[in-house]
């Protein structure tokens, strides 16, 4: 049986751990609040872009006269032979099942999808990159020359990594996201890919979130979310998250922004004849990359918030577990101490009796 000194040392060590996890939980809670604010403040832009695009699609002059569909390469639906998957994970661990849930959904997509589909991966966030890099080869491109864009070397496998963006989430800047969006669009327009999907953790509130696979290209209808796969958390996980949020002062429900959103939806859709400074088709063309970028940006802000929420929950669990452990160790230690005292008394008493 362990002696009192050992147990005391253990308790001290667990107490230290508890302090660390508690601090991490509070830090995550603060970061979560900030991420949520950012999420909300990024919404008007995304909403407005979607609204104005949607209103533009109703103008006749960007439609193909023959087919009656939108005459734009991003609306062209092709058979999905090669697809792009953007995996948005976290940059750090200690976030419970957050990263593994995303990677599981991503793997389902990569392995389970109709066989024969070639898949390119863009990894955002370090965790996804680290894992996927180990599993899949990196794509190689030939040098771009003046008159020719860089072309791809022959594939090394069905699934290849075409790029990664570690640290993009640490300092989320719209410029970098726009660049990524442009590169995706470029590949789509040049028919290097036939569709683009994005895997991320959707985050409505601490208790309302899920991992989803969303199709971002080709566009079918502006403003519609095309979710092709989703994984909801279990009721138990949700309860844990709610509990963690309650103890760290994070609101469970979102602030009501309904009114402001209604306002944003009106952007560019007023029922009047606008003067178009540029031809509508040109405006449309320039707006689309921003729209895709806004979608990506939105996904990333949600993912960041979800990561912090997951870490907060995980750290709350860890803190609770540490407390339980301290309780049981203290009880154990007291028993051991008591046993030692009893033993000593018995020894003294029996020693005295023997005299």
């Amino acid at each position: 049986m362990a002696n009192v000194l050992d147990l005391r040392r253990r308790i001290r060590s667990v107490k230290n751990t508890r302090q660390i996890t508690k601090a991490m939980k509070m830090v995550s809670a603060a970061k979560l609040r900030r991420a949520q604010e950012r999420m909300v403040s990024a919404r008007p832009y995304a909403q407005m872009i979607a609204s104005v695009l949607d209103s533009l699609t109703r103008r006749i002059d960007i439609f193909d006269e023959e087919t009656g569909s939108l005459a734009h390469p991003l609306f062209a639906v092709r058979e999905e032979k090669r697809v792009l998957l953007v995996v948005i994970s976290g940059d750090k661990g200690f976030a419970g099942a957050f990263n593994s849930n995303i990677l599981k959904t991503a793997s389902n997509f990569l392995e389970g999808a109709e066989a024969g589909r070639e898949i390119d991966i863009e990894a955002v966030g370090r965790k996804a990159r680290d894992l996927l890099r180990r599993r899949y080869p990196v794509a190689e491109y030939s040098e771009a020359t003046e008159e020719k864009r860089s072309t791809r070397q022959s594939r090394k496998g069905r699934v290849e990594m075409t790029g990664d963006h570690p640290g993009m989430l640490l300092k989320l800047e719209s410029d970098r996201v726009l660049e990524l969006a442009k590169s995706i669009i470029d590949r789509y327009v040049h028919e290097e890919i036939d569709a683009a999907y994005i895997v991320f953790n959707e985050f409505k509130s601490v208790i309302q979130q899920r991992v989803i696979v969303e199709k971002i290209l080709p566009l079918i209808k502006i403003g519609d979310q095309q979710v092709t796969d989703s994984a909801e958390p279990t009721a138990e996980e949700r309860a844990r998250a709610g509990q963690a949020a309650a103890t760290s002062g994070v609101p469970l429900t979102e602030a009501d922004t309904h009114e402001a959103e209604e306002e944003d939806k009106k952007f560019g859709t007023a029922n009047v004849d606008y003067i178009y400074e540029q031809p509508p088709a040109e405006l449309f063309e320039a707006l689309l990359p921003r729209y895709i970028a806004a979608r990506l940006f939105h996904a990333m802000t949600e993912s960041v918030a979800a990561e912090h929420a997951a870490r907060m929950t995980a750290m709350d669990s860890a803190t609770n577990n540490a407390s339980d452990m301290i309780d049981s160790l203290t009880l154990h230690m007291n028993r051991v101490r008591q046993a030692a005292i009893t033993k000593e008394i018995i020894e003294i008493v029996s020693g005295a009796a023997a005299l």
Partner: protein
């Protein structure tokens, strides 16, 4: 006409946040095809923005200048909404970085060769850097 009620509601929105929300009596916009000023009662208009300054006149908190690069603006008779890719106050502009950007733009321009897209790209970078520098130096 100079009624104090003739105020435009102005919103300046970037992908990251709503930067500015207030009223103003006039707004100058750097349209892609040319500079324009919008007063109360302007005809509805949609335009793409280039790089340049958005100037607000007669706002309750005084005139304001924002350097915006690329975006869109919707003008309605009583409302102006600006969707900017990026917007900076003059004090926030990093002259050193803007100069670097300008150099990068010139480099892109020199390397563009025959590619039209590369030229457009280089021009965008140069215009953005020049607009930033113009805004920044004006204040000093």
């Amino acid at each position: 006409m100079a009624d104090s009620n003739n105020q435009l509601r102005v919103r300046l929105v970037t992908p990251e946040r709503v930067l500015f929300e207030s009223t103003a009596s006039a707004v100058e916009l750097p349209g892609r095809t040319g500079h324009m000023e919008v007063l109360y009662g302007h005809a509805p208009l949609l335009t793409e923005l280039g790089a340049g300054d958005v100037r607000l006149h007669g706002a309750p908190e005084g005139d304001a200048i924002y350097n915006v690069s690329w975006g869109f603006a919707e003008v309605l008779p009583e409302r102006v909404t600006i969707l900017a890719n990026d917007a900076l106050k003059p004090a926030e502009i990093d002259v050193k970085r803007a100069n670097e950007q300008l150099d990068r733009g010139h480099k892109l321009w020199n390397e563009a060769g025959d590619s039209e897209a590369a030229y457009d790209n280089a021009l965008e970078v140069i215009a953005e850097a020049e607009a930033k520098l113009a805004t920044a130096t004006e204040k000093h």
